[in-house]
Symmetry: C2
Subunit: 358 residues, 2 copies
């Protein structure tokens, strides 16, 4: 079939060991034979068989990436940067797209037991304890991205600070009537962001009364359950409810949506109710998905590209030495000012709004 080291060896008049050494550029080999072998390799257009190498080396040179089925800019951008970094290190990436927990577990099991990968990057998903134990037992490097687990490396975003900066921005602009639109209450990011938001308000001597917390928990329907309520439909419905029960505001209202996708839904609800943005209601989002720029949505950007890069760097370190103590990197968010808070004139181009910058 395809050409093997045996043929190369024969044609070059050397042993297969020598060919192997040339392949792995071993230091102790005479320049002469190295050149000779290299020449034959070129001639035969030989490339080593990846599977055979993997088997012999006990290394696959492949990383498994488990991602929730990447809808939305956040995951795309993240995956893109992971892939880019991985290929720079000459690693392949096996993509495990996951849309439910069952598939998540199947992917992890597969990665763990079939030894198809040298390490796993788990994105935006929490890790069940039994898997944690397995990973440690197998000593299979694992790093969490946009998720946290004490015993493993993690790259997260400073949700607290991000959620602080949004209302802080609103307050600076003069808003005194602030509501928060969020996903399901039990979701961890929802809670973290709530705390950040509350802190900002408290520092300004304000509070976030319960009536001003617009949560997708109030929303019915199957669609609204997706992704912990962080979806467009839930944002739309929750906002519509809110507007219906809320007396017409007497002073400018600002809404902090804890995800851009919900903000999009909320904007739709606001427009439908005949109110204008930002004149009647200001909206600030979270994530900086692709939409946001188009919609002129002021938002808090997560540094996706950097997350991916850092995750891969960390993975490479773990590959060198699996015994490194877990490191928890927390990256900072960045306020991206656009038009949805009426701040365009006050804060001209505080931040570049084009993606692909970091």
């Amino acid at each position: 079939m395809a050409v093997t080291i045996y043929e190369v060896a024969k044609k070059a008049g050397v042993g297969i060991g020598t060919v192997s050494r040339v392949l792995n550029d071993s230091p102790q080999i005479s320049p002469a034979t190295r050149a000779k072998v290299l020449k034959v390799i070129k001639e035969l257009n030989f490339q080593p068989h990846a599977m055979a190498q993997s088997l012999a080396r006990r290394k696959t040179h492949t990383i498994g990436v488990v991602v929730p089925f990447f809808t939305g800019y956040f995951y795309v951008e993240l995956l893109r940067s992971i892939q880019r970094a991985l290929s720079q290190h000459k690693f392949d990436l096996i993509l495990y797209g996951v849309d439910d927990l069952q598939k998540r577990d199947a992917s992890l099991k597969r990665a763990l037991q079939q030894r198809r990968v040298d390490g796993v990057l788990l994105v935006s998903m929490n890790l069940a304890e039994n898997f944690a134990v397995e990973f440690q037992r197998r000593r299979l490097p694992l790093a969490l991205v946009d998720a946290y687990y004490d015993q493993f490396d993690s790259i997260t975003v400073n949700n607290q600070e991000g959620a602080y900066s949004a209302p802080h921005h609103l307050i600076r602009l003069g808003y005194r009537h602030i509501a928060m639109l969020t996903g399901h209450f039990e979701s961890i990011p929802a809670q973290t962001r709530l705390h950040g938001c509350q802190r900002a308000l408290q520092e300004a001597g304000m509070t976030l009364p319960e009536g001003m917390i617009i949560t997708s928990d109030t929303v019915l329907g199957e669609a609204a359950r997706l992704n912990d309520g962080f979806n467009q439909e839930a944002g739309y419905l929750a906002m519509r409810n809110f507007l219906a029960h809320q007396p017409r505001p007497d002073c400018p209202l600002a809404v902090f949506a804890t995800s851009d996708i919900q903000a999009i839904g909320a904007i739709k609800a606001v427009k439908e109710s005949g109110l204008r943005i930002p004149d009647d209601i200001a909206i600030i989002g979270f994530d900086d998905i692709e939409f946001a720029e188009y919609a002129g949505l002021t938002t808090v950007r997560q540094p996706m590209a950097e997350m991916g890069l850092k995750a891969v760097e960390r993975m490479m370190a773990l590959l060198e030495n699996a015994d490194l103590a877990p490191e928890h990197v927390r990256l900072d968010t960045k306020l991206v000012v656009r038009e949805s808070c009426g701040a365009a004139k006050l804060q001209p181009a505080l931040v570049q709004s084009s993606p692909h910058l970091n």
Copy 2:
């Protein structure tokens, strides 16, 4: 280290061949021993080593997918459906993200020569002849998605029909003043769409004068060169040029943008010029990217999910028998009516506008 068939065999008191047979559920094995072996496998929590299997079977159970670095909904959706279908067949997917032609070739070379994959899905990229030859020589299954090459299977979208249906829709709505906004002239899809568009106009006794073809070729700057001019910036600039040189239209103008992303840019230009959509200018797009729904953009949807599914099905067939004659599937587009052509009242809900339908 990890448990192997040898340990299983020993503990079950059988030979390794028997264990292997159980694993591959060979028919000729007594129910008794099968049960016995299965039990030990459970006890030892044994899973076969994927690399060893690959080496012995000369099959990797993995498909390489080469995608242009998937910015935008089209690629995400496509990739998602490919991954889903692949995992249903218990195949892994190695992702080769590519942002330039050099990386494309490197990925193909890698896939071809290192035998890490059983087949390749090449998305939205044309195939150089030397690679075509290589693929055939190696008998490595290859299918093109959103691209065409005579000797290999391909799944494409009926660009002609799609590009016909857009102006046809405009004409039905009463527009008599129609322009087309497209990417670089030499790009194949640009030409195909031009022909479809012209056909629609001709059938209505109209023509597309050169001045009404707004192409990104007129646009300067590096950004405008990306992706054959099918990008937001190019759409914006080209449209701005057009509006600047065009006398204020005396009758309603409609613009067919041959990609949604350009349409987005065009919308921006229109709004900046103080004109309204659809009142002054109607816009219809192509692709139905995620934006489109939010922007209320009437557009022509490409059946991404179906493309992915079909591509994988075809790949599975090729895996069975690499000698199948190449099949060229051409899927139909679907007109998605929203508000950007002012057709909301005339054509109520002609088509559901929610994604994930096909």
